[in-house]
């Protein structure tokens, strides 16, 4: 055809990824939402603090050589009566710096939370895709298991899985394996909502002509699911993943608070809160207060971020 080639004034593909991101609706929505900016800043700050804990923390709270029992129960910002040392957030009964234990505890909390969500996400996506795409008996079995699991509170499911898995771990490995068992337990208690959302989106996308076209040209079911359906089902998954992250961090803290989660050798925020609550009524409030505030700040900002993400990725609310 002898049509003249119109020079395109804005060539999308000439721009870098970063520039395209900066001009996207997504980034625009982010810039206009103070809640999103603040919660993103808090999350980023806490994650960075956890990642660089060894560089930031004044002491390594798990190195017995650096501990001085004389420093025990030092209130925040006050010099200790014996050693004259002063601690930003005080110390616990062992003389461990609370600020440092929080930084290290956050690493465990975040690691367990993120890993558990990733695990739940992968499991849920695979099962959701399979049940949505193939239907029939596969779907019935997977979705009925999901329904049954939803009738139990997820923390109960996590405790059950944790208990069973721990029973199968040899005693000498229990402390080492505790973190992984925790990830498994929280992940398994959380896959259902991913599976449901992905299945729903798969059913919608499956009926569209581009999937029929891909089937016609002879792509295998797995290629169609991964390449064509999954990317189109990803936005609700991202939203759920973010909100699940907050829930997973809290679930981990709950389990650790109940004493079935992270071992005392690798204390998470939940473990710190459990330890701290023993001292609350004897006047050493700071041992509980600061870890609890950190957990609150972390979970709240992740949640708000997820909330905002849901609105930002929903084309109907734009």
């Amino acid at each position: 055809m002898a049509e003249t080639s119109i020079p395109l004034s804005t060539k999308e593909h000439d721009k870098g990824r970063w520039q395209r991101f900066r001009e996207s609706d997504f980034f625009y929505a982010f810039k206009r939402s103070p809640v999103a900016i603040v919660s993103f800043a808090v999350v980023a700050l806490l994650v960075l603090a956890a990642v660089f804990a060894p560089l930031i923390a004044p002491t390594n709270p798990f190195d017995p050589a650096s501990l001085n029992l004389m420093n025990g129960f030092t209130p925040p910002m006050e010099p200790n009566a014996f050693t004259q040392e002063s601690f930003l957030m005080g110390t616990d009964d062992q003389g461990r710096d609370v600020f440092s234990t929080i930084l290290y505890g956050m690493r465990i909390s975040l690691f367990v939370g993120i890993s558990a969500v990733l695990f739940a996400m992968v499991l849920g996506i695979v099962l959701g895709l399979v049940s949505g795409y193939f239907g029939g008996w596969t779907e019935t079995i997977i979705m009925r298991i999901a329904d049954v699991q939803l009738t139990f509170p997820s923390i109960l499911v996590a405790m059950l899985i944790f208990g069973v898995a721990k029973g199968f771990t040899p005693v000498e490995y229990r402390d080492q394996m505790a973190i992984w068992v925790l990830i498994l337990a929280i992940g398994l208690s959380d896959w259902v909502q991913f599976a449901r959302v992905v299945r729903g989106a798969t059913l919608v996308e499956k009926s569209k002509d581009y999937v029929a076209a891909a089937r016609l040209i002879g792509r295998s079911p797995w290629a169609i699911m991964i390449r064509h359906i999954l990317p189109n089902a990803m936005s609700p998954v991202l939203v759920i993943a973010t909100i699940s992250l907050a829930l997973a961090i809290i679930a981990e803290a709950t389990l650790s608070f109940l004493g079935v989660g992270a071992p005392p050798t690798q204390p998470s925020l939940g473990t710190l809160i459990r330890i701290g609550q023993g001292f609350l009524f004897s006047g050493e409030w700071w041992i509980l207060f600061f870890p609890a505030c950190t957990l609150l700040g972390l979970a709240l900002s992740v949640n708000l971020l997820g909330d905002w993400l849901r609105d930002a990725l929903n084309p109907r609310l734009r």
């Binding site: 395109l8 076209a213 064509h228 990317p231």
Partner: protein, 324 residues
């Protein structure tokens, strides 16, 4: 006579439902020769799309082929399963869907989608596939094809998108293209362009086309032969000029009579009384007899005759003078 590209013999599709087995396609036979455009017309639910889906092997369960044969370039394809079926059908058949909004993956660039199709079926390298993708876009008249290759579907208008879909259907060089109402979702001003494009490209390559539509105008302009379907059966099959100017089946006659013509200055449009029977409540005898102006006792008792005996599946075909 050379082997037709597509040959359907006595094809029936069945769907088991609670109210019994229904047959959306019932004993349909037709051929499409190389380079020929066969128009398949009929109202909604007449089974025209269902027959097309049976050919490409994308019937959604529980619908299934219950009888008949489908031959593609001399190979019987309806019993093929799994990999063999996918390879053959994908290579030899291209599909153009009704809605260009949903027939392209919104998250892949059109270049990626074209390359995916080309790489699946032709033994070429990635860079060669990309070159062919650009060529395919140029052929369907996308301005600045080399630049637009990295665009996403939402950056195109509906008509342009349908051009991309045509490029996608033709890029693996199929011998048959099935176009299922390719212009229904488009603006009237764009429809003619798309039909002309499809016709030109298929003529150039000798691709056979099954053009499914309910638009008699499109059929008249495009098709070489036309198959009129009614309630799952073939009502009439023949050369497009013959069928449109001298329909033999009373249904075709009724359809033609209800086409609005500006020149006649009609007050009211002719209409065929009643509506198509539901597939669960098919009448005895000829499916059309309750609406047929010239139904006789024989039509109420005996199913309409097979097309093999004539052009129309009717006991009392209308002859040229009667169709006046």
């Amino acid at each position: 006579m050379t082997t037709p590209v597509l040959s359907i013999r006595n094809l029936s599709v069945e769907i088991p439902t609670r109210g019994g087995v229904v047959k959306p396609v019932d004993g349909v036979s037709y051929d499409i020769a190389k380079g020929e455009i066969l128009g398949v017309v009929g109202e909604s639910g007449a089974g025209k799309s269902m027959a097309g889906n049976a050919v490409i092997g994308l019937l959604n369960p529980p619908a299934h082929i219950s009888a008949g044969e489908i031959w593609l370039n001399g190979t019987r394809i309806d019993p093929l399963q799994g990999e063999a079926m996918r390879r053959l059908r994908g290579k030899e058949i291209g599909m153009i869907f009704q809605d260009p909004l949903t027939s392209l993956n919104p998250l892949l660039t059109i270049g990626d989608q074209l390359a995916e199709t080309i790489l699946t079926h032709l033994p070429v390298s990635r860079s060669e596939a990309e070159k062919r993708a650009v060529a395919a876009l140029e052929e369907v008249g996308i301005p600045g094809a080399a630049e637009r290759i990295d665009s996403y579907p939402h950056e195109f208008s509906g008509g342009m998108r349908q051009r991309v879909v045509i490029a996608l259907a033709l890029c693996a060089e199929p011998s048959l293209v099935i176009a299922d109402e390719p212009t229904t979702a488009l603006d009237v001003s764009v429809q003619a362009q798309i039909i002309a494009l499809l016709k030109r490209l298929c003529r150039e390559r000798g691709t056979a086309v099954m053009l499914i539509t309910h638009d008699m105008g499109v059929i008249a302009e495009t098709a070489d032969r036309v198959a009129v379907m009614y309630a799952g059966r073939l009502a009439e099959l023949g050369d497009v000029r013959d069928v449109l100017t001298a329909p033999q089946h009373p249904y075709t006659h009724g359809l033609m009579a209800s086409t609005p013509l500006a020149s006649l200055g009609q007050r009211r449009l002719h209409q065929i009384p009643g509506s198509m029977p539901r597939l669960t409540q098919m009448p005895d005898g000829c499916a059309f007899h309750p609406r047929c102006p010239q139904a006789q006792d024989k039509c109420r008792q005996a199913p309409s005759p097979d097309l093999a005996d004539g052009r129309a599946s009717c006991w009392f075909p209308m002859m040229a003078e009667a169709a006046e």
